[in-house]
């Protein structure tokens, strides 16, 4: 299922983590009490931040890889 291309594989991983984060956010928004709030901030926030970080790192490393290959 994961692509052979390194950049695409990283984008897929980032996307998967983001989807998990958004699903967690959705479930937390259905909840009522402080536990749902904590799960939202702790788990959903963490997954979404991680997904965005993976995406940005993938971009940076792809750009770094290209600059090496042109030298």
């Amino acid at each position: 299922m994961l692509s052979k291309d390194l950049l695409e594989k990283r984008l897929q991983i980032a996307g998967t983590v983001l989807i998990l984060g958004l699903l967690t956010e959705g479930f937390c928004l259905l909840g009522r009490g402080p536990i749902a709030f904590l799960l939202f901030v702790g788990l959903a926030g963490l997954l979404l931040s991680l997904g965005i970080l993976i995406f940005l790192l993938a971009l940076v490393r792809a750009g770094h890889g290209k600059s090496h290959s042109t030298e």
Partner: protein
């Protein structure tokens, strides 16, 4: 923060778009695909996080949220005491504070960081409740004395306050109240707030059935 259906619809839409990039990563080969990927994998999740956070913060101000913890059960009950001298009950039942944000309205200090401090206090309460040793409901105390500012925010300038017989009996009383030198909640004044220790002796108002 808008209608929940809009937020859920937005979440669903975001999940769908991200799933396109998960199952068809080759879309990013083109320049346009790269630009869309940036929005879908960076801007959109950030937006969802912000909207969700705003919705959660709004919900955490609700009376229902505060009373969802078992330790607050008696305080919730105290809002329905059928006695006009019970301050919290009188304010709640007559909608002198928004009924759906009753707790937050009174228990948040005003000024710029009042809301932030209330939220940080709430996190501490959660920690104590689940991981610490929660006190008995009747032993719960405010962190600092209730500032008259929280009362005067609404009552200052109101006729019943400025011209109340007891308030004007002593000319020095009103200035002392307004400068927080004499508490509104002083003994002999508006001293009965929640009074959870005596709930067993109280009558309760059941509320309006089918209010429209």
């Amino acid at each position: 923060m808008g209608h929940p259906a809009i937020l859920f619809g937005f979440l669903g839409f975001s999940i769908f778009l991200i799933a396109v990039f998960v199952f068809r990563p080759g879309v990013t080969k083109s320049q346009g695909g790269k630009i869309v990927a940036f929005f879908v994998l960076f801007a959109l999740p950030l937006l969802c996080l912000g909207m969700g956070f705003s919705a959660e913060m709004d919900r955490s101000k609700s009376t229902q949220f505060c009373l969802s913890c078992h330790i607050m059960e008696s305080y919730g009950k105290s809002l329905r005491v059928d006695d006009t001298f019970h301050l919290a009950a009188a304010h709640f039942q007559n909608h002198r504070v928004p009924a759906d944000e009753a707790c937050y309205t009174c228990h948040t200090n005003y000024a710029m960081f009042g809301g932030v401090k209330a939220k940080m206090g709430g996190l501490r309460h959660i920690y104590v409740y689940y991981l610490g040793h929660a006190p008995k409901p009747e032993d719960i105390k405010l962190y600092e004395p209730f500032n008259n500012r929280e009362c005067l925010h609404c009552h200052q300038g109101a006729r019943s306050f400025e011209e109340g017989a007891v308030h004007i009996a002593d000319p020095s009383l009103l200035p002392a109240i307004k400068s927080n030198k004499v508490s509104c909640l002083s003994s002999g004044c508006h001293q009965t707030i929640h009074d959870v220790a005596t709930l067993g002796e109280q009558k309760f108002w059941q509320g309006v059935q089918n209010a429209q």
